[in-house]
Amino acid sequence: MASVHESLYFNPMMTNGVVHANVFGIKDWVTPYKISVLALLYEMTATKTPLPERRRLNKLILPLQQGPDLTLGQFLKIVEECCPQTADAVKLRLHEMADGELKDMEYFFSTLPTPFTAFDSEAYKTSVVGLFMRHMLLAYNKLSFSQVYKLYKSLQQYYHNDSDMDLTSTEDTVGDRMDKEELDVPLHESELRLVSRGPLSQKQAEYFLARQAYLLKNDENKALKPAALQEELNNMLKFNPDFAEAHYLNYLNSMRVQDIFLSAHSLLHYFDRLILSGNEGKSNGDEGYGRSLRYAALNLASLHCRFGHYQQADLALQEAIRIAQESNDHVCLQHCLSWLYTLEQMKGSDSTVLTEDSVKMAAHFCLPYLASLGIQSLVQQGATQGKTAHKLMDALKDTDILHWKQSLSELIEISLAQTTSIWRMYGKSTMALQQAQLLLNMSSLEPVNFGVHQNNTEAFAVALCHLAELHAEQGLYGATSEIFQHLKEQFPPHTQHAKLWMLCDLKIQFERHMNERKYHLAEPLVKAISALNKTEGLYRKAQVLKALGRSTEAYNILQRLQVHCEKTKCTEIIIRVMLSTSELHWESSGFSTALPLLLQALTLARQHHLQSLVSESILHLAFTQLMLGVPERALSVLHEAMEPVLAHGAVVDKGRTMLLAARCQLAVAGFRPNGQALAVDTLNEAAVYFTKLNCKERLRDVHYLQAQLHRSLGQTLQSNKSAMLFRLLDQELQSPAPPVSMQL
């Protein structure tokens, strides 16, 4: 029995035991739906319709030609929305054919305007419409006797199924409805889909794949959901297992859901297929075949890279490089090289030399994309290693010229996002803001395909994250949450770049809770941060521990972190760790021990041009000096940081600077009313900043100082007012205030 079934799987597309997808070169064939489209085109050429309706119809042609087969009802509905008369005419024509005889269909095909004769019509042979008509005519003429009959039968069914449907106005075809009534068991889901959606012709399949692949790259949210896409692909592969491109899309789709098993399987399957087709193309001969081998290995490397299997990726890459070298494929070698330095970077080792080589070679072989990608990577490395700003900016500017010349829009976006990041790193928030806005407001340079602007790339995610952070710094939490809302929509949690905004969101929440002294809220966030970024998580943990007064633990963590970061050359964190350590020293009144640490931090920050960290270090330094009893020195040091902080700093930093300045001024002035008046202004300013952030703890300190100050100036009224404000806040906070002197 079994073998009887088996033998029925005869495949007509097979010659000499090898299945060819396209022995007859058939890319398209006539289906009832195609006949309806032809009827529509025929009506459009035959009759004169008013211009606006005509325009709407014209816009319809391409999607109708390329899209999957629709049922007659859907088709007519779409046409009706544009032009009711044409829809009626089309329906009438189909009715004539379906309710008539076979000869009516034959007659229809013979009356179609032949694209070769109609010179002045839209159906001329080279036009989109003409090409489609030629395809259809050719396919129709190739049909054998039984096939023509079959086509006619299916046309009748197509028409009648649908006209019955009008009566009941359900979405399903008649057969389905019958089944559903008769069956107690629900029909299998995939079976239903199969019925409602016929198989795609090769053209339609290609269009579908191209569209989905484009959407996956540029705006994942608009693409089909992973499960739905998988089902479509399975369906497609069931009808035509030789459609290799579907395997590649399958690979991309599996990557979306982080399925290493399936994605590796699909990738290899795709290349197994491709290797053959490459060999068949006689124009590139053996070369084409070897080429796909090389790229197969390279793709495998990138796959392992994506999943973080660095060793595996390395091995695959070595292999790709070896075969590319053997066959002297410089272009492939270049690609390998750029992956090599990326891999090195991901592994955390220094790859500057490799990258430089890559850029040089890429320039030599005229591969602008790879060259400027290399430069961008170099800039990134340079920025973390403390190269001077003007060098980096120069490099970026040079690549930008290259991008605009070659219109490499993707790289332009990356470049802008990178500039934003660099400015942010240097602590120039205004410049960062401007660059981020520039990227976000730039209308896409990609040709707008499938009605999608390219705004789902990593560059956009990065820019938006920076924007969110910048707003949060200024205390504009409403705007920040709006940005995150947008990010959540654009980059849903399962997507590749979602981690960027997740980390960013957590950091902002953490900072906020820390500023408001809600440590119990900040603590659970640490775990979430650690999951996304270990180093960052560790640093945050130390901060929470420090705030909770568990200094020993905090100190241990900071020490560990410093060792780790010195290994990975993560300068920013090193400086932060130093500052935190010095704060720990303050708690044990070890102000003098904190000094060398702070100076070291300051030097490091200056060396790397990290403006915000420089200011932060100066702040710490000034505070230490104040505590050591040299307020004059402290004030003069502080003045250095004042300007950048006020220009670029976060609101909380501004407040802290002003508060510290006031305290220094008070200490310097002693009982001179002149100096005290200055301090009053400074304190008022600090109060404004802290109120903006709703940072009650610090506000309480400010009021306390204000009250004292006013009393010493003899302004009892103001003094009482400040005292009252202090009292109110103190009651609200309910926690005993830490000694004012101990806190920056």
Binding site: M1, A2, S3, V4, H5, E6, S7, L8, Y9, F10, N11, P12, M13, M14, N16, G17, V18, V19, N22, I26, D28, W29, V30, T31, S144, S146, Q147, K150, M178, D179, E182, L183, D184, H188, E191, L194, G198, P199, L200, S201, Q202, A205, M236, F239, N240, P241, A264, H269, D272, R273, I275, G278, N279, L293, A296, A297, A316, E319, R322, I323
Partner: protein, 575 residues
């Protein structure tokens, strides 16, 4: 205990024979030819019954009598493959038998039309849709009757087949199990079920009737799931229970031995099978594979000619001829015959794989890749195709790339040393010595077929300067080679001996070293070195013996490392 139970089950062979005879007539009446054939074969292997023992014909009901004429007419149309006509005359019949034949002819008619239509379907992508119509209608009708409980065992079986064709596998399994419960003797239902069982857990979870035929099914399943030992045990039990003459069992055991790579045993069984059933074509492709592996040209040639005389348009015949040409190194012709086999049945798994092998021989790697891929598409569990793909990429010098394929193959055959050795070699090429060592060691411990794993392991240790481990491996290797008796072509005993000689010499075990060196002299490629080593040994011995030998002898023994290899008694081995 278990044996006793089994014997009990099979105790009444007469009863079994009776059951078989009745089921044969049932299947025949319904046009289920393959099941009838299977049962007949089995019945033939049992002792003939006396006249009284013959089972009475199935009871004849009123319905049957009513439908008799229509049924007879329809059956003759059915036999002539005029399915629509048969179905037309059966419409309205009410007996179960007629209903089954009615549905079955509709099903076969649909299949036949699908078959015809695929030839001139409107396009390559439309293939899948062609079959839908008849199947869906059948499903609707059958499922209605099924929920009403009106289906007998044969219609249940048909319902299962329809479900399977519609890819509703879970439901199909349920229905097949039901069908088996209704009539356990219908082998076709078991066979369909076996196609749907993918792993041992699933097999265990099925609730099957306790019938003697279940043992046949389990044995078949074990073979399918590559659990050869269990399968052989089952078949052995069946033979002991009285089915010793059954050609079916003999062929299955032979196939199992083939899967187990127990070539001699399998060859003997196939020869026996051919004596008993000289015109048999089933399974002969497996037989030819075995002959091929053993390079038995005359036997293979005889088999090929014999089969061509019987029926040259059978898949098995084409495969045998393909193998024959391949053995004669006429790979183009071999590929041609495999292609012919595939034309006869594109789902013939073996042919795809074999064609892949042929393309490999012709150095047409891309065609080979495609052939293997097709094999995998037909059956994902075909380890040979995965292994072949791995080999192809290895030839293309992509050791990392082929790892994936070898791993797949290894997954499917965890205890096959060839995959492990291949994996090890790839790892070695990637300089992943640790993994390579693991693979070789594992290959050795699962029973190395080609006796290469140990040698490779030893060489690897040698490269890594792990001389103790290397020596141990060489030692085992030498023991292995000598103990297996037969002379292997690629054996590198001389290499091993040379290394052992040097090793003992370094560790100052001069007696053992000299034995090794002497054995080295038996081999052409190591003779010079053996002699040189012997000279060195005698020199050193002279030096040692000139001072007082008694003082230093124990000391030199103590110098040897703790993990020293025990000196081997090479004299006992006869190369």
């Amino acid at each position: 205990m278990k044996m006793a139970a089994l014997c009990n089950d099979f105790g009444d062979l007469v009863q079994i024979k009776k059951q078989l005879i009745s089921v044969i007539s049932l299947c025949k009446e319904r046009g289920l030819l393959h099941s009838a054939k299977w049962a007949s074969e089995l019945a033939f292997s049992l002792e003939p019954l006396s006249k009284e023992d013959l089972p009475p014909a199935a009871p004849f009901t009123e319905d049957d009598a009513q439908d008799l004429d229509a049924l007879t007419l329809a059956k003759s149309y059915f036999d002539l493959k005029e399915y629509d006509r048969a179905a037309y005359f059966l419409k309205g019949c009410c007996s179960q038998k007629a209903y089954f034949l009615y549905m079955y002819s509709r099903y076969l008619s649909g299949e036949k039309k699908k078959d015809d239509e695929t030839v001139d379907s409107l396009g390559p992508l439309e293939k899948g849709q062609v079959r839908n119509e008849a199947l869906r209608e059948l499903r609707v009708e059958l499922s209605k009757k099924h929920s009403a409980g009106e289906l007998d065992s044969f219609t249940l079986y048909l319902y299962g087949v329809v479900l399977r064709k519609l890819d509703l596998l879970k439901e199909a399994v349920k229905v097949f199990v039901e069908a088996i419960h209704a009539l356990p003797l219908h082998w076709g239902a078991w066979l369909e079920l076996s196609n749907l069982v993918t792993n041992i857990e699933m097999l265990k979870s099925l609730s099957l009737p306790d019938c003697w035929i279940k043992d046949f099914f389990m044995a078949h399943m074990y073979t399918e799931l590559q659990m050869i030992k269990e399968a052989l045990q089952k078949y052995q039990n069946l033979i002991e229970a009285g089915f010793s003459k059954s050609t079916y069992i003999i062929s299955q055991i032979a196939v199992a031995h083939h899967n187990f790579r127990d070539i001699d045993q399998a060859l003997a069984l196939f020869n026996e099978l051919r004596e008993q059933d000289p015109y048999r074509i089933d399974n002969m492709d497996t037989f030819s594979n075995l002959l091929y592996v053993r390079s038995m040209k005359p036997e293979l040639s005889y088999l090929a000619h014999n089969l061509v005389e019987i029926d040259k348009y059978r898949v098995e015949t084409c495969c045998v001829i393909g193998n024959y040409y391949s053995l004669r190194s006429q790979h183009e012709k071999a590929a041609l015959y495999f292609q012919r086999a595939l034309k006869l049945n594109p789902r013939c798994l073996g042919a795809w794989t074999l064609m892949g092998h042929e393309y490999m021989e012709m150095k047409n790697t891309s065609a080979a890749i495609q052939a293997y891929r097709h094999a995998i598409e037909v059956n994902k569990r075909d380890y040979r195709a995965w292994y072949g793909l791995g080999q192809t990429y290895e030839i293309l010098k992509m050791p990392f790339y082929c790892l994936y394929y070898y791993r797949k193959a290894h997954q499917l055959r965890p205890s096959d040393s060839r995959m492990l050795v291949a994996l090890g070699e790839s790892y070695e090429k990637l300089s992943q010595q640790v993994e390579a060592k693991k693979c070789y060691w594992r290959a050795y411990s699962v029973g190395d077929v080609e006796k290469m794993a140990l040698l490779k392991l030893a060489k690897l240790h040698e490269q890594l300067n792990e001389s103790d481990d290397a020596a141990q491996c060489y030692m085992r290797y030498i023991q292995d080679i000598f103990s297996c008796g037969e002379q292997l072509e690629h054996a590198e005993v001389s290499t091993a001996l040379r290394y052992m000689g040097q090793y003992y010499f370094k560790n100052k075990l001069y007696n053992e070293a000299s034995i090794c060196a002497q054995r080295c002299c038996d081999y052409n490629d190591a003779r010079e070195e053996g002699k040189a080593l012997l000279r060195q040994i005698s020199q050193v011995r002279d030096q040692i013996e000139t001072p007082s030998a008694d003082l230093f002898a124990p000391l030199s023994n103590n110098n040897t490392p703790v993990r020293r290899v025990s000196p081997l008694n090479l004299i006992s081995f006869t190369p």
